[in-house]
Subunit: 360 residues, 2 copies
Amino acid sequence: MRVHNFSSGPAMLPFEVLEAAASELSDWRGSGMSVLEVSHRGKDFVACAAEAEALLREVMGIGDNYKVLFLQGGASGQFDAIPFNLTAAGDRVDFLNTGQWSAKAISAAKRQGLEVSVLADQADSKYTDTPAAGSFEVHPDAAYLHYTPNETIGGVEFGYIPESGSVPLVADMSSTILSRPIDVNRYGLIYAGAQKNMGPSGLCVVIVREDLLDKARPNTPSVWNYAAMAAADSMLNTPPTFGVYLLGKILQWVKDAGGLTAMADRNRAKAEALYGFIDASGYYSNPVATDSRSWMNVPFRQAKDELDKTFVAEATAAGLTNLAGHRSVGGMRASIYNAMPLEGVQALIDFMTDFERRNG
Amino acid sequence: MRVHNFSSGPAMLPFEVLEAAASELSDWRGSGMSVLEVSHRGKDFVACAAEAEALLREVMGIGDNYKVLFLQGGASGQFDAIPFNLTAAGDRVDFLNTGQWSAKAISAAKRQGLEVSVLADQADSKYTDTPAAGSFEVHPDAAYLHYTPNETIGGVEFGYIPESGSVPLVADMSSTILSRPIDVNRYGLIYAGAQKNMGPSGLCVVIVREDLLDKARPNTPSVWNYAAMAAADSMLNTPPTFGVYLLGKILQWVKDAGGLTAMADRNRAKAEALYGFIDASGYYSNPVATDSRSWMNVPFRQAKDELDKTFVAEATAAGLTNLAGHRSVGGMRASIYNAMPLEGVQALIDFMTDFERRNG
């Protein structure tokens, strides 16, 4: 029996995609081989990867002046790879710090010898909001401005795209990519681990504007060298083939469902239902400022903290899994990515209502 | 219909493993979730990863003084990661160069500021042999001696473990790991991309002796920092969960089949059959010195080069796939990893016999 899985990542995938993958896992397209067993340089897989890239370009509206790369090492790998590719040691870079993932990206930038300016530090508000638009000023000599549009742990999401003038804007979109339309042209570089809205863990998508390809340090690891990887169609080394294959299937599912506009409608409806319920409740609460609430990750608390374990255990028994909050934060968290249907959120609300009735 | 797949990697996997994975891909262990969808920090996946590590330790005989890491970025990523972890810029490192993969590792070591000494350069013999044991001397001040026990492209394999004295021995075992017993204690560090004998692409296994964990440069990328990853059970960031899961299944298959001794028997029999046929033929040839022939990758040529495309096309039609040689070498190559049964090699020999009869 299929459960409603609120995991923050690796996360729920569309069931149709899982069933399609299962049905052809031991014989892909009548080849007598699994997609796991074919050479990445064979024409079948090369076509599969090209199709995934074409779908991503179509669904997100990515212009020809951007390269799309399929890399390994996750967004955490990119925390180091971005300084290698876009800076020289000693360069200035600007950051907005809105949570634990921003903070890790900042640590890596420092480790790679950069002069980091944190233009807005929401640690001051315990990571419960985003800086107001226009409240910070980018250094004109910064190599880039980095921010995290959605913080998976805090459940904090930007309601706007920061203005960075001529300074390239760099975004870790791991937990928000494909959840709504975005204007790719505002960005110099977008990167995202696949394991929330795009597929399995182990694949990292990088979308980089071509004018940023000529800045890599001489000692940039080749598997993270954007220019070299772009020239090799992301096959300088063996790519994570199964992840690329699944990404293609998920993008087709997004497209068939109506694309990113439809995803946004669906995600807004789920978020409004859950936040609306929490706000109307005297028992549950969400700490995030109204204009900064994430559509993807909804942390919440109940009035009686001591019942958290009971809540999670009973929810699991009711087919609502992975609701424990991040270990650094506690409480509960419902991650409601693209693949989570509105019925899943409704089932959660029904459970929360019943739990409050019994314990409130 | 299942074919005999001679791909060099990603490569053939045991069919039982594929079928087992397919059967539970949309519902893992009755959880109502796919293994692709579960949190890497959940108890089910943590147990799955621990089981894979325990099996690897058992099958390979890895002592407690070694850490086992599940990383991303492939062996090509390790070409850069090893210098970051084991050296300071300017250190001396020794290499044996036996093919294109050795050469790439050498390039990366130079890129990371190391003083590289190539103790034996088999480019001189067009990568058709290995240096004789005892024919080179390791520098006592070298940070490590690096070699490639099996070169996937040239089909050249060491018949012995190089003597490095007190200097740590580092080996890229991507295409030979699990193919026969090895004495892990002779090594400081073993690394291997999974996509030949261990599973899908996107997972890289690193086996590192504990005394080598304290040497990382301050700017080592965290996802490749051996000490940090060892302390976090390879979960400093999200691991490639599906790869780890499949690795566990494949290791169980190896164990059930009799472990590495049984794999060695099986692989020796396949290699002897194929090389024996080639050597007895006046039509086919293999360029590699007898004592350096790979059990895993068998490049070969036919007397009439102009028939290569015909050979590959007809073989494919006969259910023998991915036999084209590496693009840099030409000719043909049969990769016969653990999952390839003797019957597959026999079918190839039968086809080669018939092809020669018709064209020789």
